[in-house]
Amino acid sequence: MAAVIETEDLSRSFGRQVALDGLSLDVQEGEIVALLGPNGAGKTTTVRLLNGVLRPDRGRARVLGLDPGADGTELRRRTGVLTDAAGLDDRLTARENLVLVAGIRGLDRADARRRADDLLEHLGMGPLAGRSVAGFSTGQRKRVALAMALLHDPEVLFLDEPTSGLDPVASRDVIELIAGLAREQRRTIVLCTHFLGDAGRLCHRMAMLDRGRLRAFGTTADLAAGLWQGLVVDLDLGGPAGAAVLQILEAAPGVLECDTTPAGAQVRVGDRDAVPAVVAALVARDVPVYAAVPRAATLEDVYFAVQEGRR
């Protein structure tokens, strides 16, 4: 599979402020990769560098086989960007925003209008197409901006917080739309988001940035395997485990670490085979065990572990 996006040591500073420091990653065709990180982590700078809006101080990037710095105009014909602010002109209607931007992209006016209406309809904005966007809610603006990013059938999409401000139903619709673009149309998508749930559901791999540096890059499972040994098991003991119960758990064979939870305890064991012995140790000391559920590490677990510098 060909890498649609490749970067090597990509770096950019603004004065003394380092915005991105030595980013090296790849994104394959049809893949959705999340750029995760707090504000100021370097997500927007990365998108700007990858789309040829900024030039790097150091390192290189190739997107769709093009150098964003040298071939920015050609590259931007083939990419679509949804910015965090949505970027709609309040003085124009939803349709005008799309059609006038389509003109800058070189689309025929009649085609642009037809495509704009189709996309707005698809995103539930059809009845509002002729209204000024000034009175639109954040969610409505996001949907119009998403239609703008999709107008020219881009091969690569950069989406900055596509679901912020959307209600749960609209958010689910947008996530399904994005997943469909990657799955059915082989679009390559870079998603900048604070919503770990969205990233976990949508993205194949995660790039975790912090203060301009790439702290981790891979699937949730791979990153978890790199962070922690073994398997996490949630134990339902009917209430938080006390010191005596934690002592029993620490002494049980195969337990690497344990901690109390509101429902009981969470233990990390070497592998699945250790679970019966842990339960048996508790039962032998008359501690009731209502459930023992092995649980894969979530994106939230990995993200917070990375951000807290546990690697």
């Binding site: 809006v53 900024l54 105009t73 050609e74 709609l88 003109g103 800058i104 070189g106």
Partner: protein
């Protein structure tokens, strides 16, 4: 000159948005109406009422090339022709300069303020074409408003003077040079300054304040010198216009060469 499609599209987008913006349209209409319709009407009527006043002493201080044609007129026509044909000229150059400055200030700073700049920069238009599109998006309305304003001015002063002169006396050949050659140059000069200021400012208001430091002296020079412009011969007026064009062209071309998306976002 055939403009590239993306340039035309950016201009079309800006002009559509300007038309929908009362805060921009209102001064673009109000100032020309005040300067080119109401003031000439009032001053012209006052001059007509005083048409028998002897102004030969005033004319004696003017260069011969201007004074002589007026002195050859009947005394009843002299004041009207002097006021409406020459002394109101300063009002005329204010309009293109002001409209160009207001629109150019909005070019990039307005996009930043409305949070639409990022979307614009992610579109497939080369840096230089984007700069020229923003310049033309301010220049074309400035020139159009100036020319419409001048037609209104000519109608007003000729109508006011008709009972005394019984003929159309504006525009003269010199006026035509000022309207068609010097005024667009002045608009281009205002833009050359303001578009660059706009790229550095965060809001249109900040751009107007920063640009005002440059535009206001230009405005005073334009006002101060434009009367004089109508006191010179046609070739000299063409030469002055050419000098302004060269300065404006230098500013705009230099601005275009220095303009990059990267620099715009790095400021």
């Amino acid at each position: 000159m055939i403009l590239p499609g993306p340039v035309v599209a950016v201009i079309r987008k800006d002009l559509t948005a300007i038309r929908r913006s009362p805060a921009v349209v209102a001064p673009m209409i109000a100032v020309p109406v005040l300067l080119l319709v109401l003031m000439p009407l009032g001053i012209g009527l006052a001059a007509r009422a005083q048409h028998s006043v002897d102004i030969s002493r005033v004319l004696a201080r003017l260069p011969g090339s201007v004074a002589e044609p007026i002195l050859r007129l009947p005394v009843s026509e002299q004041l009207l022709v002097l006021v409406c044909g020459y002394l109101l000229a300063p009002l005329f150059l204010i309009v293109p300069l002001m409209v160009a400055a207001v629109l150019a200030a909005d070019a990039f700073a307005g996009e930043k303020e409305r949070r639409t700049l990022e979307t614009l920069l992610h579109l497939p238009i080369p840096d230089r074409q984007l700069f020229y599109a923003k310049v033309l998006g301010a220049f074309l309305p400035a020139v159009l408003v100036s020319w419409i304003g001048f037609v209104a001015f000519a109608v007003v002063v000729n109508t006011v003077a008709w009972p005394v002169l019984h003929r159309v006396f504006v525009p003269t050949r010199l006026w035509a040079v000022v309207i068609l050659w010097v005024a667009p140059a002045v608009a281009a000069l205002g833009m050359g300054v303001m578009v660059r200021v706009s790229a550095r400012a965060k809001t249109a208001q900040e751009a107007n304040q920063l640009g005002g430091a440059v535009i206001l002296p230009l405005l005073f020079i334009a006002v101060g010198q434009s009367t004089g412009l109508l006191l010179v011969t046609v070739p000299v007026a063409i030469g002055i216009g050419a000098a302004v064009w060269v300065l404006a062209g230098w500013l705009i071309v230099r601005g275009a060469h220095r303009f990059t998306r990267d620099r715009l976002l790095s400021n």
